[in-house]
């Protein structure tokens, strides 16, 4: 009866030491978030406002996108529109080719993961260098991110140390001190920044009123990526556009407090025009499903997400199963929901990765009802043809028993005979209940009988 997620989680849990570290690390991030949230009297008010701004914005997004594009063009940027991943990749390649770009540095962008841009460009002979340290590590390792904000969280300092030795980034063998390794990566990436022909950034926000692309980083890699190369391409999903600076203030205050428990990221950068010594800036607005999702009556609010990562940090299932246990490239509660919007047939296995504790929607800075939505997805599995046949059979049998008082009473009266079945038979692999559970003991006297005795 195991889902794809629970099978993968079993692999993750084989290394108990690491699994404990993973759990404790994310719980510490969650605690830091709590300190930030409790430190502001207006925190809950900000969440209300953030949710209301997002609801308004994504239900008027056509107007704000138009306003954004007009403002950005007035600033001198060239605005492109991509309906899907394929078009997005073609547009990026087209721009790079027209400038004869051989190497591009880029800052973190989940959108480019979504569109699988890096392999597309690499197949066409363009070198893409990730410059967020975590992204760079997994790029060198040939892996995918396991968290949207902390992409290399599944590796420890020894893993990174050995990787850097192998790639010639560090030269002191056996020195796996994070400070040393970070310094070696700095030197290596510095060289990439200086020699790249183009820089690409994602964007945390697009501002409709001014045409700004706003990028938040701690490392300064988005700014480095755009400071030396002569070409800047910014790529954002449609839903990243918000109305104005007053709205931005609300989100800027919440993004990092919720995500990593810091009062702000080190850099909150506003890109409005290219540098005077660079080519004009390109902005690519990507739909790739978003214009369909807004029509979904139960799940359109997933478009409110600002990708802070707080739902995965708090999720008891994410903390104990890791990012690679999910089939969609974004893990955790938000990833479960986005994966189902993307392709329910492919990603139904993730909806079991939820205890419905609703911790995610309690911490979500934009009050996205993540857990409620996961519950709703589960109700639709039969429609997608992804419901588990064993569970369906059990449900049918249970509704028969619970629907007939005679059958129910007979079953509870006879249940205690099951206690006499020898344990090896009861707790074997054929009984799905016994997987991770101990079989319960049935009482000799059913509850109904006990109540009747007391009443007598």
């Amino acid at each position: 009866m195991s889902t794809q997620h629970s099978k993968a989680a079993k692999q993750f849990l084989k290394n108990q030491t690491y699994a404990h570290w993973h759990d404790a690390t994310f719980w510490a991030v969650r605690s830091k978030r709590d300190n930030m949230a409790y430190g502001l009297d207006e925190w809950e008010q900000l969440r209300e406002k953030a949710s209301a701004i997002k609801r308004h914005t994504i239900t008027h997004l056509d107007e704000y996108l138009d306003q954004f594009a007009t403002a950005a063009e007035k600033n001198g940027a060239e605005v492109h529109w991509a309906k899907d991943a394929q078009e997005f990749n073609e547009i990026v390649y087209g721009i790079l080719k027209s400038h004869n770009v051989k190497k591009m540095v880029k800052s973190k962008s989940m959108l480019t993961e979504e569109c699988e841009m890096n392999p597309y460009l690499e197949e066409r002979g363009i070198e893409v260098v990730e410059t967020d340290l975590g992204e760079r590590i997994i790029q060198l390792k040939g892996q995918k991110p396991s968290h949207i904000v902390m992409p290399a969280i599944h590796l420890n300092h020894d893993d990174v140390g050995e990787l850097f030795e192998e790639k010639g980034i560090s030269n002191e063998k056996g020195n796996h001190d994070p400070t040393y390794l970070t310094y070696r990566a700095r030197l290596s990436l510095r060289n990439e920044f200086l020699t790249a022909d183009a820089g690409m950034t994602g964007g945390n926000f697009g501002i409709a009123e001014t045409g700004d692309i706003v990028v938040c980083t701690n490392e300064g890699n988005a700014d480095m990526s755009t400071s030396c190369p002569k070409l800047h391409i910014a790529a954002i999903g449609l839903e990243k556009v918000i109305p104005n600076y007053d709205c931005l203030a609300v989100f800027q205050r919440m993004l990092c407090r919720a995500g990593t428990g810091q009062p702000t990221t080190t850099y909150t950068s506003h890109f409005r025009k290219a540098r005077p010594t660079a080519h004009h800036m390109h902005i690519i607005l990507v739909d790739n499903g978003r214009s369909d999702w807004i029509a979904n009556p139960e799940h359109w609010e997933s478009l409110k997400c600002i990708r802070c990562g707080s739902c995965m940090n708090t999720c008891p299932v994410y903390r104990r199963s890791g990012g690679y246990s999910y089939s969609y490239f974004i893990p955790g509660p938000i990833g479960i929901n986005l994966g189902m919007l993307r392709d329910p047939q492919k990603h139904s296995g993730n909806v079991s990765a939820c205890t419905l504790c609703l911790s995610c929607q309690t911490v979500c800075p934009v009050k996205l009802n993540l857990g409620d939505q996961i519950y709703q997805w589960r109700q639709q599995l039969d429609d997608f043809g992804t419901a588990n046949p064993q569970k369906k059979l059990m449900c049918r049998a249970m509704s028969m028993v619970y629907g007939s008082p005679g059958l129910y009473n007979l079953a509870t009266a006879l249940a205690h005979w099951a206690n006499y079945i020898p344990s090896p038979i009861m707790n074997c692999g054929l009984n799905p209940w016994a997987d991770g559970h101990k079989m319960m003991q049935f009482p000799k006297k059913p509850f109904h009988e006990i109540i009747k005795d007391i009443e007598r």
Binding site: I53, T59, W81, L194, E219, S227, Y267, T268, R290
Partner: protein, 219 residues
């Protein structure tokens, strides 16, 4: 290729219900009895350094004392006489690599999170990031409480139609903000570049400045 119109039309026709914009004027945002003190404390807690400069103190001398070993100093500020390179005059941005200390000016600070607004006021903004150590000059009277006040200030400056024919007659903060319009780039900086991407251990100095010092200047 999809056109803007196709995407917008499809999105518009798929909207099922519409919500109003909330009123943001009633946000009860945090304020501080002493914003300057809060700004200085926050700067330290994000790994930066904040120094109140006494009236009459020689800035160049102070910077020399802070970074006695610095060889390459980059700045385009007229009051910085110890600069060895100028971000307005370098041939290519990459020529600023190897800068030991970069000195730039911020227009205002934010008490709640130690952000300093740095509009681009130089030809190559690389100086703000490529320098090993960053020094930000900031007038100590220019501290706002929180990001709502910060963005309200930027909005007001962007919307003011006033042209500064005699730039020295207007306050320095406003003069700097106007240049955001000119270069079209600005950033809030709070402390040094940092990362915790290797095993969640916090390390200062990821890809940009390894240290950040705010010199709080008297009026």
């Amino acid at each position: 290729m999809a056109s803007k119109e196709d995407i917008l039309k499809k999105y518009r026709s798929n909207i099922r219900i519409q919500y109003d914009m909330p009123d943001l004027s009633d946000i009860q945002a945090v304020t501080y009895p002493n914003p300057l003190l809060q700004f200085m404390n926050m700067t330290k807690s994000v790994g930066g350094n904040a120094i109140e400069v006494e009236a009459g103190r020689d800035i160049n001398e102070l910077i020399r004392e802070l970074f006695p070993d610095a060889k390459e100093i980059a700045s385009n500020l007229p009051e910085i006489t110890i600069a060895t390179r100028n971000p307005d005059e370098v041939g290519r941005a990459r020529d600023l690599n190897g800068t030991d200390v970069g000195i730039i000016r911020g227009s205002f600070g934010v008490a709640e999170n130690a952000c300093v607004w740095i509009p681009q006021t130089m030809k190559e903004k690389a100086v703000c990031f490529i320098s090993e150590n960053l020094i930000i000059l900031l007038s100590k009277s220019q501290i706002v409480n929180n990001m709502h006040e910060a963005y309200a200030r930027l909005s007001a400056e962007a919307n003011s139609q006033e042209q500064f024919a005699t730039p020295h007659s207007v306050p320095l903060g406003q003069r700097i903000a106007k240049s955001f319009e000119k270069y079209g780039y600005g950033t809030f900086i709070s402390g040094p570049s940092k990362t915790a991407d290797i095993a969640q251990v916090l390390v200062m100095g990821a890809q940009a400045a390894r240290s950040a010092t705010v010199l709080l200047l008297p009026e």
